[in-house]
């Protein structure tokens, strides 16, 4: 799988390259600033882009803006955004075009190598990888309507919002897949969400509900 990396810190850029290549990704470009990111994305059309939010020259949200711009240029281009902090506002902006794989993770998730690589693969395949931190920040508010959920349903909702499939949720919670899908249909019913089989649309539905 072909990857474009954008990260201004050389140490992290090399680390990411090494890590991804160890897992059979091919890093076709690794840029260290905002202005060269968009041309690189459009030229290489990678299977997935791994992008730092804050990039030179402005050190603001150039990476995020370039990612959003690339996705409007090449609809559905899978982008995994990494950041030193997570901001539900950015998650919403990334998800707003509702097309193709999107991920938004804290940088430290990289240290859980297997989980990180899994997230990159999921995004490349058109799925979603939302940082648990974003999800928990969103779950923290909107208490009243979520109060209807049981503790187990809450756990399932959290994992669902991160972008996990039923199988992954089942494995994580040590229950059967059937139980998970039962929980999910109950959540959808309680939250008045349209049911859907597609992983990505599931996340959109959940986040749309949480952002309402």
């Amino acid at each position: 799988m072909r990857v474009v990396i954008a990260e201004d810190l050389a140490l992290l850029r090399d680390g990411l390259t090494r890590l991804l290549e160890a897992y059979d990704f091919k890093v076709v470009a690794a840029v260290d600033n905002g202005p060269s990111l968009l041309p690189a994305l459009i030229e290489h059309r990678p299977d997935v882009a791994v992008v730092d939010v804050r990039l030179p020259p402005t050190f603001t949200d150039e990476g995020l803006q370039a990612a959003i711009a690339a996705r409007s240029e090449v609809p559905g281009m899978p982008v995994l955004v990494l950041s030193q902090h997570v901001e539900p506002l950015y998650a919403r902006e990334l998800l707003s075009d509702r097309k193709g794989g999107v991920g938004y993770l804290l940088k430290d998730r990289v240290s859980h190598v297997a989980q990180f690589v899994d997230a990159v693969r999921r995004v490349a395949a058109g799925g979603t990888a939302m940082d648990p931190e974003v999800v928990s920040q969103l779950l923290a508010r909107h208490e009243p309507p979520l109060a209807a959920l049981t503790g187990r349903e809450r756990d399932v909702l959290t994992l669902m919002a991160e972008g996990r499939s039923n199988g992954a949720i089942a494995a994580k919670l040590f229950v059967g897949e059937k139980a998970v899908s039962k929980h999910i249909s109950s959540i959808f019913a309680k939250l008045d969400l349209p049911p859907s089989d597609d992983d990505h649309r599931r996340v959109l539905a959940v986040l749309a509900y949480l952002n309402a």
Binding site: Q65, Q84, H85, P88, L89, S96, D108, H112, A140, R141
Partner: protein, 426 residues
């Protein structure tokens, strides 16, 4: 302008005129008292006690005049020197006599009285005459005499002529109401001539204000730095040390006991992520990343998303502020919103931000219980101090039962318009 507006302004100005007349009369006894106590100083020394008392009265009177001017759009700053510490009788006396503002107040007493009387009477007399014209017809019929006249008709002899007083009266009343605000302005302008600080006094006041706010600012910054130092020392730094130790140990064991080494490394990873979480919280407290990235508007939108109550954000700030101002503005809004969600049991909150004529205005309102009091809460006082460092101000309206509205103003310039697009609406 709405027609109701000018009528309201006119009525308000006429009321101001009445007040001004009542106040102007008090100037005369004050003048006499001041002269008497001045004369009594060398003679009996009574003035030593009397003069400060009389001056306090005069200053009180001048303060009302300044307030009144401010109500009609001409704020006048207080020009007095601060009372020296541990002021005895003589020192107090000297403080008052050597302050040029004392003499300017004194000089104002008589001319101010004349101006207040003339302008006040004028602003009342014209509308009164207008009202007389409007009410004249029934009056004239009731009196039944031909000796009554109004406006251009002296005397009124027929009912037809009597009817003419009505339009005349209406016009005169309208003129009176329209002119009254200008008379108030003239009065305020006259008061400012005497009661405003001179250029010199103004600079002195400015210096003392800056000295206070600088000291407060440095104090709070020093406290902030101490807190950061402590947090780093006890938190992230300690975790990094233990991280080094754990990795060192794993390094030792990797050949002899790989299973334990692996466990230690997993532990080390946990510790590193804890350290990062701590650093993240710390950074957020110093300068939230989203503020650096998106500026005030974006940061406030992000803040609103994280609040437990639905919070609407409206903003018209077409550019970025200077970093320190931006930071002060953000933390002020954050603090007010935190108060709203913590203490007021509000269901909704709203933030409005706009920049106009070099002033950033931030208005935070909630539909909570109200009854917020800046003298009780340290939070509101902290906001005031934070804003004061930039010559900003805060005003609070929080009647019991709500709603609470906090309005903060910060004079500041905008830099280049923001480039980053923000497609969403909050």
């Amino acid at each position: 302008m709405d027609s109701r507006d000018w009528i309201k302004d006119g009525v308000k100005a006429v009321a101001g005129g009445v007040l001004s007349v009542a106040l102007a009369i008090t100037n005369i006894p004050l003048f006499v008292l001041f002269v008497v106590s001045l004369v009594l100083t060398p003679v009996l020394g009574i003035g030593l006690v009397l003069l400060p008392l009389v001056t306090a009265l005069i200053r009180f009177r001048a303060r009302i005049a300044r307030r009144l001017s401010a109500t009609f759009g001409m704020p006048i700053a207080r020009p007095y020197r601060p009372l020296p510490e541990r002021a005895g009788l003589l020192k107090r006396y000297r403080w008052i006599v050597t302050d040029p503002a004392t003499w300017r107040d004194f000089a104002w007493l008589l001319p101010g009285a004349v101006a207040g009387l003339v302008l006040g009477v004028l602003s009342l007399a014209v509308p009164l005459y207008g009202i007389e014209g409007i009410l004249l017809l029934p009056l004239w019929i009731w009196l039944g005499t031909g000796e009554y006249g109004y406006g251009a008709i002296w005397p009124i002899e027929t009912v037809g002529e009597g009817f003419l007083s009505l339009p005349q009266g209406t016009i005169i009343l309208a003129i009176g109401l329209a002119v009254a605000p200008y008379l108030r302005n003239a009065d305020a302008w006259f008061a400012r001539l005497f009661l405003a600080p001179t250029r010199n006094a103004e600079l002195r006041l400015r210096v003392s204000h800056l000295t206070t706010t600088r000291a407060e600012n440095l104090d709070s910054q020093a406290a902030e730095l101490r807190r950061i130092e402590r947090d780093l020392h006890d938190g992230a730094q300690a975790r990094l040390v233990s991280l080094g130790m754990t990795i060192g140990l794993a390094e030792e064991l990797v050949a002899t006991d790989p299973a334990t080494a692996r466990k230690l490394l997993a532990e080390a990873r946990e510790v590193s992520s804890d350290a990062l979480t701590e650093l993240r919280h710390l950074v957020r407290g110093i300068h939230p990343p989203v503020l650096a990235e998106r500026g005030l508007e974006g940061a406030v939108r992000a803040l609103a998303m994280a609040l437990p109550i639905p919070t609407a954000v409206g903003a018209a700030v077409p550019g970025r502020l200077d970093t320190p101002v931006e930071s002060a503005a953000y933390f002020a809004v954050a603090e007010v919103l935190a108060n709203a969600t913590r203490h007021s049991f509000a269901q909704h909150a709203e933030v409005q931000l706009w920049h106009n004529d070099g002033v950033l205005t931030m208005r935070v309102s909630d539909d909570g219980l109200g009854g917020a009091d800046p003298s009780r809460g340290t939070g509101l006082r902290g906001i005031e101090r934070r804003l004061a460092a930039f010559d900003g101000t805060m005003s609070l309206s929080s009647p019991p039962g709500g709603p609470t509205v906090v309005t903060m103003e910060l004079p500041c310039a905008l830099s280049s318009p923001r480039i980053s697009p923000s497609s969403e609406t909050a």
